[in-house]
Symmetry: C2
Subunit: 420 residues, 2 copies
């Protein structure tokens, strides 16, 4: 465990164009994937790199907020910082100048995610450990010290979180087996919104050949018949045993969601993802009572307080919290703890292309006793990462490099231009 | 009604330092009030000016988003634009590049507020009408055309909103009397967080002398005894008949809120404002069942969907929607309509120092039949506005100048520096 002092911190705006309709959904026809990076320079030859995802134009706004927030960690020794990270997290989340712009949501919260993730990256690198290993070796108290329990006093106070972690020690040795087996992935890339029927059918064959047993189709078309036709096509091509997720990207009103989901039930989907507006807890509650398809959501839920409300409401069957949307790994862990208390599996959305989440789902399974269900697999940016996630036979291989696996190749970071 | 084409649009960052503890609350000890302005230039000698409030450092982020969003209205003729403004509103709110950064919250939504407000300002100026007059003269259908009913299909579809507006035609002539009487104000400036007991007592005397019957005290101290002592002092100084609001600025956990509010009940407050985190609907529901003080909230509720959920939940006694927090006047009106349907009075938070809201509460009363309760009065920036709100004898005089009254004096806009 080296002493490493953060000498300076800065944002960096990196953007990637996607090709041939990849990444398209009911909201985004020609997406750019962009990262607002937080880079922490130190007094030794190691750098912390954190990220938040955006879809292009607004990336520089998130970078602006990173450059402001990062002052809270500059000058700190990383191990001392992380020994009471919950305190610094709260200071950043409640920074009096930026809090008004949220609180705890939107641009400033994405920026917080990037700064928080950079701190965790540097911490893991300072111990020469991949994130998953660092997290499972922390004591329950040390893990709790990285979290900010504000507004969780009524539902998961610190002491209860520690007890939960201690209770989950049982069975932990068995769950370590996942490290050798690999964590099951699911393939998001068979059914982007703009793909033709032929592309989708080809992709399903390729996906099954590669070992995936679970695939996702984008729905949420202005023409419900298109959604239903494509869903039937996917079920037909993938066979009766395949796990098929449907993702509506928030396009339906509640009455529309009820009507269309009642038809989509026939293809026996594993879940319907983001059926309506991501803030509309009551609409999800009503929908969950009207349909038999389980609801997955969380990609756009900004913070622990709204997750708490969704979890309490009983409408959420799968928790898709994303560590590059909420306030980074710290808030992700707190939400995972609450989700465990309520027995709701965490199946993260991977704004990071799975690079960080491959670590987090291993911890969730081993340390918290969450089931090892599935992790989304999106390989679009594989070529740009220094240690891209390795998915073989439909399974994520356990990453071994120190940190969060969120380093980009040098040429990506050296490039001056905003886009590639 | 002149034809006016929007030739260009741009943001402007204006910031004001406050003096001697004014504006301080449990979150902000030394606040700056800043406006991210949207300025719409036209082909004639008239300008549309919209605003969103921030507290300083992040103001330039909102300005960045305004400069991006404003492209949706540049080139449009103002009357044609406003004849179907709901459509353009939705395009801006769902702009594929910026939507990810919300959706409908945080920096991008504040920017939307500023652009939307600039359009309404220009529209009212093009008709040489103050906003309140324009709004009460619109037909129910024309008013509905300025609104985006997405995600309100299950609770207030367009046709129901039009029916509600038509039903409220009854009694309208009587309610016009408010234009002559003036709209009652309440005084927020007696009890800022950093004020001493002596300052508070002096301010109460001054306030009552000026004709205010309603005053607000900031609570939410880390020391509950301070809150209770100050609340008792205010009740003692103001007398048994004064209306006293308490504002906790989100500082309490749910258990703390329950415990402290049960003690504060003794001074018979009119409301407790923002007792806990503004996203925590369930905590507000629980609190509302445990205490007898009515709950006021909305200052930090970002959009119509979360307002819908708060309204449905039954915990909100006073709706404090702010047209410079939600997506401008358009979303404010939609939320006011829903609030009317549920019988919840609208008592706006005035991020605009009441300049725009003095128009909106007149419309809410005359056009929607909301009770004419109270409008917050904060005179800090009076000297900078071209037509500052006139409050005499505790009442807002009806504004007569065309537009939203959100124009600043020329020297404010000409100044190049960010702060004054």
């Amino acid at each position: 465990m080296k002493s490493i002092v953060i000498k300076s911190g800065r944002s960096q705006d990196v953007q990637f164009e996607l090709e041939n309709g990849a990444g398209s959904d009911a909201v985004h026809s020609t997406p750019i994937y962009a990262y607002a990076l937080c880079r922490l320079d130190t007094d030794v030859h190691v750098e912390g790199v954190g990220m938040a995802l955006t879809l292009g134009a607004g990336n520089k706004l998130v970078c602006g907020a990173i450059d402001y927030l990062v002052r809270h960690v500059v000058g700190r020794e990383i191990n001392e910082l992380m020994a009471e990270f919950g305190v610094t997290y709260k200071k950043m989340a409640d920074d009096p100048n930026l809090r008004w712009l949220g609180p705890h949501k939107g641009v400033v919260h994405l920026a917080l995610a990037s700064v928080v993730n950079a701190c965790f990256d540097l911490w893991a690198k300072s111990r020469s450990q991949p994130l998953w290993k660092l997290l499972i070796e922390l004591s329950p108290e040390a893990l709790a010290d990285t979290l900010d329990f504000s507004y969780f006093e009524d539902i998961l106070p610190r002491q209860e979180a520690i007890s939960l972690l201690k209770d989950e020690a049982q069975g932990r040795a068995d769950r370590m087996g996942i490290l050798k087996q690999g964590y099951p992935g699911y393939d998001t890339s068979i059914g982007w919104f703009n793909y033709t029927d032929e592309q989708v059918a080809d992709n399903i064959r390729r996906s099954i050949d590669q070992g995936f047993g679970a695939i996702k189709l984008k729905v949420g078309s202005s023409n419900p018949d298109r959604d239903i036709r494509r869903a039937e096509l996917v079920r037909h091509a993938a066979g009766p045993d395949a796990t098929i997720m449907l993702d509506a990207n928030q396009q339906w009103s509640l009455p529309k969601a009820i009507a269309i989901c009642q038809q989509l039930q026939d293809i026996n989907p594993y879940w319907i993802e983001e059926p309506t507006h991501p803030d509309d807890i009551q609409a999800h509650v009503t929908l969950s009572k009207e349909i038999s398809i389980p609801i997955a959501l969380g990609e756009h839920v900004p913070n622990k307080v709204l997750f708490k409300n969704f979890i309490q409401s009983g409408c959420m069957s799968f928790n898709q919290v994303d560590a590059v949307r909420v306030g980074g790994i710290s808030e992700f862990l707190l939400i995972s703890l609450l989700s465990r208390k309520y027995g709701i599996p965490v199946v993260p959305h991977v704004g990071d292309m799975g690079q960080i989440h491959q670590h987090l789902v291993l911890f969730n399974h081993i340390g918290l006793g969450h089931p090892a269900l599935l992790l989304e697999y999106i390989p679009h940016l594989k070529g740009y990462f220094k240690y891209p996630a390795q998915v073989i036979g439909g399974k994520y291989l356990t990453p071994q490099e120190p940190g969060l696996s969120s380093d980009f190749k040098d040429y990506v970071l050296e490039k001056k231009a905003l886009s590639y």
